[in-house]
C-alpha cells in the first residue's frame, strides 16, 4: 500500500477530532467574520473631528469669524474655550483636546491696519499621522481665510471678481469616497486568515507531539507527507469557508464587491493559505509545547501582517533593509493581489509578479517545513532510543 493511501484515513481522523471540539470549529469559522464586522465598522483612517481648545484673546468680530471657520468644518470640534493659554497644557496632557488655536489680542488691529496678523496653532504630535493631517487642515483653513479677506478687499476696490484663480479637481480612483472599509476589507482578510490558519496548523501538529500520539503515528507505515496532507486539508477547507464568509460579509455590509476575476481570487487565496500552513508546520517543527507554538505563531503573524505587509504602513516608506524583510511576509504579496482583484478589478497582467512570488514562497516554506518536521521527528526518535 502506498503511503499516500493513508491521506484519506488521516483526514477523516482529523475531521472527527475537529468535530468533537465544536467550540473550536465555530471559532475557526466565525471568528474571522466577527472580527471583520467589528473592525469594518469601527476602524477609520479619516482624521476628522479633532477636539480643539480655543483661546480667543482678541474677542473681536474678525477673530470670531476666524474661529467660526474652524468650528464649522468637520475637521475640528471646539471642545473648550479658555481664557489663558496656560490652561491648554493640562487639557492636552489628559488628551481632552488634541489641538489648540490661540488668537492674540492684536489680531483684529493688525488686520484693520493691513498688517499680516499671526495666530498660534498647537497640535498634539504624539500620533504623527493625525498630527500631520491636523496641522495641514489648520494651515489650509487659515490660507483660505486670508485669501477671502484679500479678495474681499480687492473686490471693494473694483479689482476682479471674487473667484479664486485656480481650482483643484480631486478624483480618487478605486475608492472614490476614500472609505476606509473598502481599503480595510482586503487587509483584514489577509490578517485574519493568516492568524487563524497558522495557529491552528501549528497546534494540530504540536498537540500530537505533546500528547505523545505523534510517536504512535511515526511507528505506523504512514509517511510524513501523507500525515501532513491528511492533517492539513481539513484546515484549508475550513479556512476557505471562513474566507468566503468574510468576502460575503464585506459585500453585504460594506459594499466591497469583487470587481475582478473570482477564480484568480481563489487561486491567490489558496496560495496564501498554503503559505500560512507552511509557516504553521514550520513552527510546529521547531516547538515542542502548544504554549510556545501559540506564542510563536501569534508573534510571527499578528504584528508582521499588521505592520510589514503594507496593510497599514506603505512598504515603500520603509528603510531598504526592512523592505527586504517584507519579502518574507506572504501577506504582502497577497494584499497587493487582493487589492488589485477586489478594488481595482484589473487582470493578471497587473499583478502576476505577486502571484509568482506568493507561489514561490508557498512552495519554499512548505518544502522547508516538511524537511524540518522530518528532522525533528528523527531527533525525537533518537532521543528516545538514547534514554
Amino acid at each position: 500500500m502506498s503511503p499516500l493511501a493513508f491521506i484519506g484515513p488521516v483526514m477523516r481522523k482529523e475531521f472527527r477530532q475537529i468535530r468533537r471540539d465544536s467550540r473550536s470549529l465555530i471559532f475557526m469559522i466565525f471568528l474571522p467574520a466577527f472580527l471583520l464586522l467589528m473592525f469594518g465598522f469601527a476602524l477609520n483612517f479619516d482624521v476628522k473631528h479633532i477636539p480643539l481648545a480655543l483661546v480667543d484673546q482678541d474677542r473681536s468680530r474678525a477673530s470670531r469669524e476666524l474661529v467660526e471657520k474652524f468650528g464649522t468644518t468637520e475637521y475640528f470640534d471646539i471642545k473648550a474655550e479658555l481664557d489663558r493659554t496656560s490652561d491648554i497644557d493640562g487639557l492636552m496632557a489628559r488628551e481632552k483636546v488634541r489641538a489648540a488655536l490661540v488668537v492674540p489680542e492684536t489680531f483684529s488691529e493688525d488686520l484693520l491696519a493691513g498688517r499680516s496678523p499671526s495666530v498660534q496653532f498647537l497640535i498634539d504630535g504624539a500620533n504623527a499621522m493625525s498630527g500631520t493631517i491636523g496641522a495641514g487642515y489648520a494651515a489650509s483653513i487659515l490660507q483660505s481665510y486670508s485669501q477671502r479677506v484679500t479678495l474681499e478687499a480687492m473686490g471693494r476696490r473694483g479689482l476682479g471678481g471674487l473667484t479664486l484663480p485656480l481650482k483643484t479637481e480631486v478624483r480618487v480612483w478605486y475608492n472614490p469616497e476614500l472609505r476606509s472599509a473598502r481599503f480595510l476589507v482586503p487587509g483584514l482578510i489577509a490578517f485574519i486568515l493568516m492568524i487563524i490558519l497558522t495557529t491552528s496548523t501549528a497546534f494540530s501538529i504540536v498537540r500530537e507531539k505533546e500528547r505523545g500520539t505523534m510517536e504512535q503515528i511515526s511507528v505506523s507505515p504512514l509517511g510524513p507527507a501523507a500525515l501532513i496532507i491528511g492533517k492539513l486539508v481539513p484546515y484549508v477547507l475550513i479556512s476557505l469557508a471562513s474566507a468566503h464568509l468574510v468576502l460575503a460579509l464585506g459585500w453585504v455590509l460594506f459594499g466591497v464587491a469583487v470587481k475582478g476575476n473570482y477564480f484568480l481570487l481563489l487561486l491567490t487565496m489558496v496560495l496564501f493559505l498554503i503559505s500560512g500552513l507552511g509557516q504553521g508546520i514550520l513552527i510546529s517543527a521547531i516547538t515542542r509545547t502548544q504554549q510556545v507554538a501559540f506564542l510563536l505563531s501569534v508573534l510571527t503573524t499578528i504584528l508582521p501582517t499588521f505592520i510589514l505587509s503594507g496593510f497599514v504602513f506603505p512598504v515603500r516608506n520603509m528603510p531598504g533593509a526592512i523592505q527586504l524583510v517584507t519579502y518574507l511576509v506572504p501577506a504582502k504579496y497577497f494584499l497587493v493581489a487582493l487589492r488589485a482583484i477586489i478594488l481595482k478589478g484589473v487582470g493578471l497582467a497587473a499583478f502576476w509578479d505577486q502571484v509568482v512570488f506568493l507561489a514561490g514562497f508557498a512552495v519554499l516554506i512548505l518544502a522547508l517545513s516538511v524537511a524540518m518536521l522530518r528532522k525533528s521527528g528523527e531527533q525525537g526518535r533518537r532521543r528516545r532510543r538514547g534514554r
Binding site: D21, R23, S24, F27, M38, F39, A42, F45, D46, V47, L66, G90, A93, E95, G114, S116, S118, V119, Q120, G125, A128, M129, T132, I133, A139, S140, L142, Q143, Q147, A153, M154, R157, P165, L166, K167, T168, V170, R171, V172, W173, P176, F203, T287, Q290, Q291, V292, L295, L299, F306, I307, V312, F313, P314, M318, P319, I322, V336, A340, A350, F351
Partner: protein, 375 residues
C-alpha cells in the same frame, strides 16, 4: 507565603523545561520592536506620481515644479495622453497623477479660473488622503502667489495682501515621527500577548494533563495556588517591559520624559487585567486549542480597538463606548503619556483607576470561576 514561593518555584522549573520558551519570551519582543520601529512609518514622502501636462506652457511647467520640489512627490513617468495614466495606477507603479488640461496657461493669463486635476489611488486610503492634502496645499500656495502678483500689479491702489501667519507648534513629538507613537504601543501589545497567552495556556495545560488535581489534594489554599501560578508571568512581563524600554530609549531614541518608576508601577494594574483575562479564558476552555482560539478572540479586538494605530476618537460613538471596557486602551494613554508627554500621576490617575476597576472585576470573576472548578 512559603506555599506561594514553592508553587512559584515549581512554575519556573516547569517553564524552564521547554528550552524554546525563554528565547521566545525574551528575544522575540526585542526582534519585533526593532523590525517594527523601522517599519512603522506613515511619513508619506516621495509618493510615486505620473504627470500629464497637456498644456506645455511656461505656467504649467512652473506649477508642476512647485509639486516636484515639495519633496512629497516623485515623478515616476510623464505621459502624453490621459488614458495612459490608467496603466500606472492599475499596476500600482504610481499612486497619484497630476493632469494639467489644455489652455491652463492661457486661462490664468486671462484671469479666468483654471483648473488642474489630481487623481489618487484610493485603494491605499491613508496615503491617498495625505497625498491629496499635500497637493491641495501646494495648489493653494500657487493660488496665493497668483493673487499676490495681481496685487503687485495694482500697486497704485495701496492694497496689501493679508496673510494670516500660522505659527504651528507640535507638542510632544516635534519632528512628527511615527516611530515615537508606535514603539510605546508595541510595549503594551507585547505585555498583553505574553501574559494573557502564557497564563491561559499554562493553566489549561495543567488541567489537561491532570496535574491540577494533584495540586488540589495538597494543603495549598486556592489563593496561594493562583498567586503562585500568576506571579511568574508578572515577573516575565516586567522583564519584557524593561527590555522594550531599553531598546526604545537606547536604540530608537524614543524619549522617556516622565518617571520610569511610575511606568513600571502602572504595568501592574495592567497585568491585573491581562492575567485576569488569561485566567478567565482558562476557566472556560477544556483544552489548549480552545484556550488559544478564545484568547485570540480577546486579544485581536483589543489590538485594533485600543487606539494602537487607529485613533479611538475617529470610531463611531457606539464603538467608542465599547472601547471603555478594553484595558489596553487606558494603558496606551499611560505609556504614551509617560514616555512622550512627561505626564505624571495627576494626569494619569484616572487611567490607572480605570485599569484597577476593570482588573479587579475580571480577576474576581475568574478567581471565583477557578475556585468553583477546583471544588
Amino acid at each position: 507565603m512559603k506555599a506561594i514561593l514553592s508553587i512559584l518555584w515549581k512554575e519556573f522549573v516547569q517553564l524552564r523545561r521547554d528550552p524554546k520558551l525563554f528565547p521566545v519570551i525574551f528575544i522575540s519582543p526585542i526582534l519585533q520592536l526593532v523590525l517594527l520601529g523601522y517599519a512603522a512609518n506613515l511619513d508619506v514622502k516621495n509618493i510615486p506620481s505620473v504627470i500629464c501636462d497637456l498644456d506645455r506652457s511656461a505656467a504649467s511647467r512652473a506649477f508642476l515644479d512647485d509639486f516636484i520640489n515639495s519633496g512629497y512627490f516623485k515623478v515616476e513617468a510623464r505621459v502624453e495622453r490621459m488614458d495612459e495614466i490608467d496603466r500606472y495606477l492599475d499596476h500600482g507603479d504610481a499612486a497619484m497623477a497630476f493632469v494639467i488640461p489644455r489652455e491652463f496657461g492661457d486661462k490664468l493669463a486671462a484671469r479666468r479660473e483654471a483648473s488642474v486635476m489630481l487623481i489618487a489611488d484610493g485603494s491605499e486610503s491613508q496615503s491617498a488622503t495625505i497625498g491629496v492634502n499635500y497637493a491641495t496645499m501646494i495648489a493653494a500656495k500657487t493660488t496665493q502667489k497668483i493673487i499676490f502678483e495681481a496685487l503687485e500689479r495694482a500697486k497704485g491702489l495701496g492694497l496689501k495682501p493679508v496673510l494670516v501667519n500660522a505659527e504651528v507648534r507640535v507638542w510632544y513629538n516635534p519632528e512628527l515621527k511615527s516611530r515615537n507613537f508606535m514603539v510605546p504601543g508595541v510595549l503594551g501589545l507585547i505585555l498583553m500577548i505574553m501574559t494573557t497567552v502564557l497564563a491561559s495556556l499554562g493553566i489549561v495545560r495543567e488541567r489537561e494533563t491532570g496535574t491540577m488535581e494533584q495540586l488540589i489534594v495538597t494543603p495549598i489554599r486556592p489563593y496561594q495556588l493562583i498567586l503562585g501560578k500568576l506571579l511568574p508571568f508578572v515577573l516575565i512581563g516586567l522583564v519584557d517591559a524593561t527590555f522594550v524600554i531599553i531598546v526604545a530609549r537606547g536604540w530608537f531614541g524614543v524619549p522617556v520624559r516622565g518617571s520610569v518608576a511610575l511606568l513600571f508601577a502602572l504595568c501592574l494594574p495592567f497585568m491585573l487585567n491581562t492575567l485576569g483575562i488569561g485566567l478567565f479564558v482558562s476557566t472556560i476552555s477544556r483544552n489548549q486549542q480552545q484556550a488559544m482560539l478564545t484568547s485570540l478572540f480577546f486579544i485581536l479586538p483589543q489590538i485594533v480597538l485600543s487606539g494602537f494605530v487607529f485613533p479611538i476618537e475617529n470610531m463611531p460613538k457606539a464603538f467608542q463606548y465599547v472601547t471603555m471596557i478594553i484595558p489596553i486602551r487606558y494603558f496606551f494613554v499611560i505609556i504614551r503619556g509617560i514616555m512622550l508627554k512627561g505626564a505624571g500621576w495627576p494626569e494619569l490617575w484616572n487611567q490607572a483607576a480605570a485599569l484597577m476597576v476593570l482588573g479587579t472585576a475580571i480577576l474576581t470573576l475568574s478567581v471565583t470561576r477557578f475556585r468553583k472548578k477546583l471544588d
